[in-house]
């Protein structure tokens, strides 16, 4: 297989708080291959959003990246100056945020917000004057058309509050895709949307991915979304990756007790009349975590050996798991 498009090794991102240092991301490895859709699943506080905010260079004080390498197409993003990073962000790699209403600027029209991307990154445009403005307007209208917003020309002059939730999410996708990035990071793109609109937005992302041949990272807490749209999945818990592999395999044969618990927690009509088996307890506090397995306190299978640090282990081709009861140690 060729080198991955995005290759993150040993990422560690911490936030200094008055109560102590919160280690939000601890030793995360991610690789995204060309053209694939990788799903990142985890509950609130698992570090899934912070991992990709780190990749985008969006972690601001009191947070900082403490260790790790982030290679995009072989280029080390952590070594870039802020100015160089700005040239990459929005052009080669783009991100859509969970809440489209707060992520869009309420004081600028949608057209102005899409135009910003072309203005910053598109060097094929005429240098100045009305020709440049017209070229940007045409390209912006084309983007709105691409994400399925009708009468694009007139809607460019409207403000975010004039659009519905699903339409705002489409606008964010249009902005993210304006410069045809190699990698799109979609952070909970459908969490705030109704199911019928969610289906439309996910279909749109999948369709555009195929058409433009880009890679997509889909961050979500919904295993159903991952099952239907992602080739591979990574499950995160308390700042670490605890399981990864091809989606169908992970869902059919989850190896980590947390993944199993998560799957058993989903209420579904097929389980009517049977008691649901929730994972007891809560996610541990990320301040001053002991070096043991992070799932120790909630795990039904925990034993003394779990009190030592647990490394990722190999569990078959392309599968890895962070549990001493599964897989083989890797060198």
């Amino acid at each position: 297989m060729s080198a991955p498009l995005l290759d993150v090794r040993g990422l560690r991102t911490v936030f200094e708080t008055r109560a102590g240092t919160v280690c939000a991301v601890d030793g995360v490895d991610v690789s995204v291959h060309r053209g694939e859709c990788l799903g990142i699943v985890g509950e609130s506080g698992s570090g899934k959003s912070v991992t990709f905010a780190s990749v985008m260079g969006l972690v601001k004080s009191p947070g900082r990246i403490e260790a790790g390498t982030i290679l995009l197409d072989g280029c080390d993003l952590r070594g870039l100056t802020p100015k160089q990073m700005r040239a990459v962000r929005g052009k080669d790699i783009a991100m859509t945020m969970q809440d489209a209403l707060t992520a869009l600027n309420p004081a600028l029209t949608v057209g102005e917000q899409i135009a910003e991307v072309f203005d910053a990154h598109d060097y094929t445009l005429p240098r100045r004057g009305s020709a440049r403005a017209r070229a940007i307007r045409d390209k912006s209208a084309e983007m709105l058309g691409l994400v399925g917003i009708p009468s694009a020309e007139s809607r460019l002059r409207q403000y975010p509050h004039e659009f519905s939730g699903g339409m705002r999410q489409r606008i964010m996708i249009a902005i993210a895709l304006a410069c045809r990035p190699k990698l799109l990071i979609a952070d909970e793109p459908t969490t705030a949307l109704d199911v019928t609109i969610q289906a439309q937005v996910l279909e749109l992302i999948t369709e555009i991915r195929a058409r433009l041949g880009m890679s997509v990272v889909l961050i979500t807490h919904d295993l159903g979304v991952v099952a239907e749209h992602c080739d591979r999945v990574m499950v995160m818990y308390a700042g670490q990756v605890i399981e990864e592999g091809p989606t169908a395999e992970v869902i059919a044969q989850p190896q980590h007790p947390y993944t199993r618990g998560l799957l058993a927690s989903i209420p579904r009509p097929a389980l009517r009349g049977q008691p649901i088996r929730p994972i007891e307890g809560q996610v541990p506090d990320l301040i001053g975590l002991p070096p043991q397995c992070r799932f120790y306190s909630r795990c039904p299978l925990h034993r003394d050996a779990c009190l030592a640090p647990v490394a990722m282990r190999s569990a078959g081709p392309n599968r890895r798991v962070r549990c001493i009861l599964s897989g083989e140690p890797v060198e």
Partner: protein, 337 residues
């Protein structure tokens, strides 16, 4: 089984404000028909699931039943008392028996009150405890039952996680020993593993205390798991209602079918063909004429654009409102959800 709650032709309309010109010229108010002519009943010990997308009026309906929002028209009967005709003291007395659990565990708890004060308030309002010590003991007992620790009673809501706050809201609803509870999306704001804990808790409590739930949700998986009967709402009206098995096995209304088709399923790996609903929910300010679903319905005919369909019985206890029921069309390829 005995009917506990009966809702007859209940409507809740909101009048919009008119501008100066509108008031001077006597222009009619714009009216949002949030709930329009809804009828159903809930048996004692049953869970009726109410499902629909945001803005369909499901929360308004739940609140109108408790008269937290005053209904515009229609009747609500609770245990053969007419809730909609009661005066304030009688309504207050009845509220001990009908309670609500809210969706947002952050906004529905007073940040300046401790857990003991929040949960103990219904006891004080209804005079259910003879002394402070007794109130405290009852509060402690119900808090322990919903999974809070005794040493947490004097803490404030911000010191708890979302799931624990929802437990506080549940304790508050249950402390007056009610018979009927409106659960207004109680698990929608929670993470998957916490959601499962709260669903398990609500089902245990229902069994132990003999409760009846109106369970409002937008998640057909949750409703399909726990409800006995389901009512599907679209733009203020119930478009289909029936036993959960019947609706899951063979949904008759095209909206129910598309709702079920839109839910991503863990079991079905890989992509499935879906019923594609185009467009957004129409504005309830200007609802479409005829069948309100016709603007998004893949089966719409001319008659759907002009005439609203009537409710028809399509099975035992199963009703639906659609002009094309007779043709028995299924948009779902595999029927089962």
């Amino acid at each position: 089984m005995k009917t506990l709650l009966k809702v007859e032709s209940l409507s809740k309309h909101y009048e919009g404000r008119r501008g100066l010109v509108g008031r001077l010229t006597g222009a009619p108010h714009t009216v949002v028909r949030a709930v329009n002519d809804v009828s159903f009943s809930v048996e004692r010990g049953e869970i009726l699931g109410l499902i629909g997308e945001s803005g369909c009026g499901k929360s308004t309906l739940g609140r109108a039943i408790l008269r937290l929002h005053e209904p515009t028209a229609g009747r609500v009967m609770f245990d053969s008392k007419e809730v909609t005709a009661l005066d304030a003291p009688a309504l207050k007395a009845l509220r001990r028996r009908m309670q609500i659990i809210f969706q947002d565990p952050y906004a529905s708890l007073n940040p300046r009150r401790t857990v003991a004060q929040i949960v103990g308030l219904p006891l004080r309002l209804h005079g259910l405890a003879s002394s402070e010590a007794e109130a405290r003991a009852i509060t402690a007992r119900i808090c322990e039952r919903v999974g809070l620790k005794a040493n947490q009673l004097d803490r404030y809501p911000h010191q708890f996680s979302g799931g624990q706050r929802q437990r506080i809201g549940i304790a508050r609803a249950l402390v007056s020993n009610p018979e009927f509870i409106v659960c207004d999306e109680p698990v929608s704001a929670l993470d998957v593993s916490i959601q499962a804990q709260i669903i398990a808790l609500l089902l245990e409590l229902k069994r132990e205390m003999g409760l009846t739930y109106l369970f409002i949700s937008h998640d057909i998986s949750v409703i399909g798991y726990l409800a006995d009967r389901v009512a599907v709402m679209y733009l203020g009206e119930i478009v289909e209602m029936g036993p959960v098995e019947a609706i899951l096995a063979r949904p008759r209304h095209p909206y129910t079918q598309s709702l079920m088709s839109a839910v991503p399923k863990v079991e079905a790996s890989g992509r499935r063909a879906r019923i594609r609903l185009t467009g957004d929910l129409p504005s309830p300010l200007h609802p479409p004429a005829g069948c309100k679903f016709h603007t998004r319905c893949p089966l719409a005919l001319d008659i759907c654009r002009s005439t609203a369909p009537l409710r028809e019985t399509v099975g035992e206890g199963h009703i639906a409102a659609c002009h094309r029921l007779g043709e028995d069309i299924s948009l779902l390829e595999d029927g089962a959800a």
